[in-house]
């Protein structure tokens, strides 16, 4: 499978995740978000950048708890508000949907 962005083709896996992390661009992200029916706002971009930074540093997508903590710290929210905020941005689950837009591989979870 693949997606087309600005005349270039990018390989994706059977679940629509980008195969090559380093091929990711903001335009690719927009296309991936479109497929998820998400319109990217500044808040979406911040989260996506956090995910990419974390992956770069730790070689794995962060646990939801790590995401929530980061958002809570950044925005001065409590844990619950941060969770709700996350789901508002990526309704199908922050980990799965946000990782896809960020060009990360599908999180395998801990199993």
């Amino acid at each position: 499978m693949s997606i087309e962005v600005n005349g270039t083709s990018y390989a994706t896996d059977e679940n629509g995740y980008l195969v090559n992390l380093e091929e990711w661009t903001e335009d690719v992200a927009k296309k991936l978000a479109e497929a998820e029916e998400i319109e990217m706002t500044e808040e979406h971009w911040n989260l996506v950048k956090f995910l990419r930074g974390y992956y770069d540093e730790y070689q794995i997508a962060p646990a939801v708890k790590v995401l929530t903590k980061a958002i809570a710290n950044e925005n001065g929210m409590d844990k619950k508000a941060a969770s709700e905020f996350l789901y508002k941005l990526f309704p199908k689950g922050p980990a799965l949907q946000a990782c896809k837009v960020a060009g990360l591989p599908k999180p395998t979870g801990c199993v």
């Binding site: 540093e57 730790y58 070689q59 794995i60 962060p62 646990a63 939801v64 708890k65 790590v66 903590k69 980061a70 844990k79 619950k80 969770s83 709700e84 996350l86 789901y87 689950g93 980990a95 799965l96 999180p107 395998t108 979870g109 801990c110 199993v111």
Partner: protein, 408 residues
């Protein structure tokens, strides 16, 4: 001058690797294993305690008894790791090292889940510590019907198949007690399926269906309300219960975060294949303490120990560590007292049908509920104490073997 290896944590991984290294290394290498107590817990047995299949006092043995005499076992509290100075501080001592192995595991923190402590031991229970499993045993004994909910608070958690086993065993237990028709069982998970690996997930969902167990997926826990007897998700969905069994939030050891070495939740960022700490030279990580994307389970710690021993031996001989580990994990999945299934998988290959460990002959069957698998599970306990902890091999490589598996 003698060279030093320090191992932090004497659980499954730490014990196996200390013994294994002792066997491989010459005498001028000191091996020191540090733990806060002398209680080694056979953790797979905790799942059986609530159902009266195994008594909790049979699960604990002396750590020291299973550590080779050539390993220096120290009981002390580890207070700080200084990777730059290659030093570990404990309450009473200081240890310098040439290689450090972190096997500090993970633990449940029910106080991190809103409302859980208010309900703890009243109508909310767990089986991830011996004390919790004991409380749950008493509760199930007096249970005479109603709704039992098994919930996983969040990822990652320890032994990812245990909650599935718990609901299968609960079905068996209540049937035996003659109250299954008065009991509802619901499994509530943050995962999109019963399990993250699709083939195994489909098999488990089928089994749950046949046992009349309801599965609710993608439920991200926000709070427990013990008074009004429901759990609520971040999205606002509610699931009611009479008795809640929960896997609370799970984090790595405090000393990892306090030493500034963690990923945000107490786990050490670890190379997926060499098992070396990503940010620190001379440090390897095994078992539940890593952040690698495979099960937090004893089998994993065991396979990882083999890889780390190989890599430390390589480094000692001036060779670079090799990218060997593949995420290999092997787990029994108990269905009832008398039957079990078995899965064998790695980072890339999901659990498949087939035979294990010998192709065609088994005697164990993968992804299938059999009596033979149950005997395997039972026999495993003796193997654990007497063979695995000693750091001995079962003749199989640490990586996944495809022979005997049905592909496609």
């Amino acid at each position: 001058m003698s060279k030093k290896i320090v191992v932090l944590g004497g659980g499954t991984g730490g014990t196996i690797i200390s013994n294994n290294l002792r066997r491989h290394l010459p005498k001028d290498w000191d091996i020191t294993l540090i733990d806060r107590d002398d209680r080694h817990i056979y953790q797979p047995g905790m799942l059986f305690v609530p159902f009266g299949i195994q008594k909790s006092n049979t699960l604990v043995r002396s750590r020291k008894k299973y550590i080779l005499p050539g390993v220096n076992f120290v009981i002390d509290e580890i207070t700080h790791i200084y990777p730059d100075k290659k030093e570990v501080k404990t309450k009473n001592h200081k240890f310098s090292y040439d290689f450090l192995i972190i096997s500090t595991g993970c633990r449940i923190v029910p106080e991190e889940n809103d409302g859980l402590m208010d309900a703890w031991g009243k109508n909310a229970f767990s089986f991830y510590t011996i004390e919790a499993a004991e409380m749950l045993r008493k509760k199930l004994k007096e249970f005479d019907g109603g709704k039992l909910v098994m919930n996983i608070a969040e990822l990652p958690f320890k032994c990812p198949v245990a909650p599935i086993e718990f609901v299968f065993l609960a079905d068996w237990y209540f049937k035996n007690k003659g109250i299954r028709n008065k009991t509802e069982i619901e499994f509530v998970t943050p995962l999109p399926g019963a399990f993250t690996k699709p083939k195994a997930s489909a098999v488990f969902i089928e089994s749950a269906k046949s046992k009349n167990i309801k599965i609710t997926t993608s439920f991200e826990l926000n709070a427990v309300n013990g008074k009004e007897k429901y759990i609520e998700s971040v999205k606002g969905d509610k699931v009611s219960f009479d008795t809640l069994v929960i896997v609370p939030s799970t984090i790595g050891d405090n000393v990892i975060s306090e030493s500034g070495m963690d990923d945000g939740i107490g786990y050490v960022p670890t190379h997926h294949n060499t098992l070396k700490a990503l940010k620190h030279d001379s440090i390897y990580v095994i078992g539940d303490a890593t952040n690698v994307p495979t099960s937090k389970a004893g089998s994993v710690a065991h396979y990882e120990a083999d890889v780390v021993v190989f890599n430390i031996m390589s480094e000692i001989h001036g060779v670079k560590p090799e990218e060997i580990y593949d995420g290999h994990s092997t787990c029994f999945i108990v269905y009832s007292k008398g039957t079990s299934s078995l899965i064998d998988f790695n980072y890339k290959i999901e659990p498949l049908h087939g035979k294990f460990p010998a192709p065609k002959f088994g005697p164990f069957s993968l992804l299938k509920e059999t009596k033979m698998n149950w005997y395997g599970k039972l026999g495993f306990e003796a193997l654990y104490w007497n063979v695995l902890l000693a750091g001995r091999h079962l003749g199989a490589p640490p990586t996944l073997v495809m022979a005997g598996k049905e592909v496609g």
